[in-house]
Symmetry: C2
Subunit: 227 residues, 2 copies
DNA sequence: CGGGACCTTGAAACACCTCAAATATGGTGG
DNA sequence: CCACCATATTTGAGGTGTTTCAAGGTCCCG
């Protein structure tokens, strides 16, 4: 069996994929815009799930917290991402903005009705759910099986995959080290040391704490996949 | 906010939930039975996904392996569970039998067609997908944030929740310590020590390696939730 | 330029892992 | 039914990676 990513990923579907103009128009008629400043919450864990969202610009973070204050970041979200999948009447995670962001807000009730009338829309949501699940499984594998520096590579690869194809593999880390640590199940110090180690080994350059250049993508990928 | 499980769970839906007799009959007309002995594979990671399954009896395990041999167990599956959710044309995990098991095999193509004709069936699959996702998020939280003995409690709670409501909280661990370790992102020795520690603290009794009695369910739950 | 938040680095503690040996378990054939 | 065997589990000792605690440095914004 040839070397390959554990999960083969199609281009990420959006809820708009393959919709005709009429459907898009109907969808847009339901939606409202919302702006978020860094640190602001889109919604809170345990509050009623009355809307779903599509991220237009900026970056969001999805996290789950226990009452003891332990926090797990579940995902970092990029433009185009659909937000609000839940099997409850309540959100079971919090979503907040890492950067100035804008989202489309779609009332859940109306969205569900529209899905029944536009099968392609329902299909899109189904596919997105599948992608989210695949992402969650990747994360389970990473947290269960990978070492600290491999987990950091796992994140770097995820972020660089979101970038438009380009020669220079420069990655903007908009989130803080604490966010990264809580995403990877580590501490900020361990994350910091992992970056230092990768830098020292020549796999990356750290221009500033939030601007990383990947110098050896092949090696980063190998570590990311732990393959 | 009152103490509560991180994820509130409805009674687990099956694909049969709310179907009328005609729909069930049509579904059954598609399905074949299959028997598995312990250790036997239902299907392998990276093989074409041509069927989905419903576990009738026994216990299955879903796992993902990398080519270096690192293995992550994603789930243990109980009767009624639906198996084969994938967003690929290939399964991205292996499913094998822990005990003698029987499954219903449903050809994927025909199942998809039937879903279009029976909206309730499609709805059931959607709900199941949501449950699987919720389970995956729980696991991410556990692997990212919990200590070894808390992860073991997390598993004990998951298994005891599957049991019919009864006074004595006796849990059968059908899987090996290695399976448990690979599920929780630990080693067999650490799992074994965690059991010993819980036993010594009087939270459980270990009758044999595969038969555990939970003596202090409240405490186990507290550790499981890390709340 | 000053201050607060964020990040990095170091040293020591700790949890978990690795390696090794002893013990228990469960299945099989006598 | 029992003895035996292979396999699985437990336990111990020592090593490693990650965390914790602490200090110093850097960046960014007013």
């Amino acid at each position: 069996m040839t070397r390959q990513p554990l999960t083969t990923r199609q281009p990420l579907p959006t809820i708009y994929h393959g919709l005709d103009a009429a459907a898009v128009a109907r969808l847009n008629s339901l939606t409202g815009q919302r702006s978020l400043n860094p640190g602001e919450y889109l919604f809170l864990q345990h509050t009623p799930a009355k809307s779903v969202y599509v991220l237009e610009s900026g970056m969001l973070m999805m996290e789950r917290s226990s009452s003891t204050g332990r926090r797990q970041v579940m995902a970092f979200m990029h433009p185009g991402n659909y937000i609000g999948i839940t099997h409850n009447e309540h959100y079971d995670f919090t979503v907040s903005a890492l950067a100035k962001s804008t989202v489309c807000e779609i009332p859940l009730k109306a969205f569900v009705v529209l899905q029944d009338e536009v099968p392609q829309l329902k299909e899109n949501v189904r596919r997105i759910g599948g992608n989210i699940l695949a992402h969650a499984f990747d994360q389970v594998f990473a947290l269960g099986q990978k070492k600290a520096h491999e987990r950091v590579c796992f994140l770097l690869k995820q972020l660089s995959d979101r970038l438009p194809q380009q020669r220079c593999h420069s990655v903007e880390l908009i989130m803080t080290r604490q966010d990264i640590a809580d995403y990877l199940g580590l501490t900020i110090e361990t994350v910091s040391r992992a970056f230092s180690k990768l830098k020292q080994e020549g796999l990356i350059d750290v221009y500033s704490a939030h601007t990383i250049e990947i110098r050896d993508m092949a090696m980063i990928e190998e570590l990311a996949l732990a393959d």
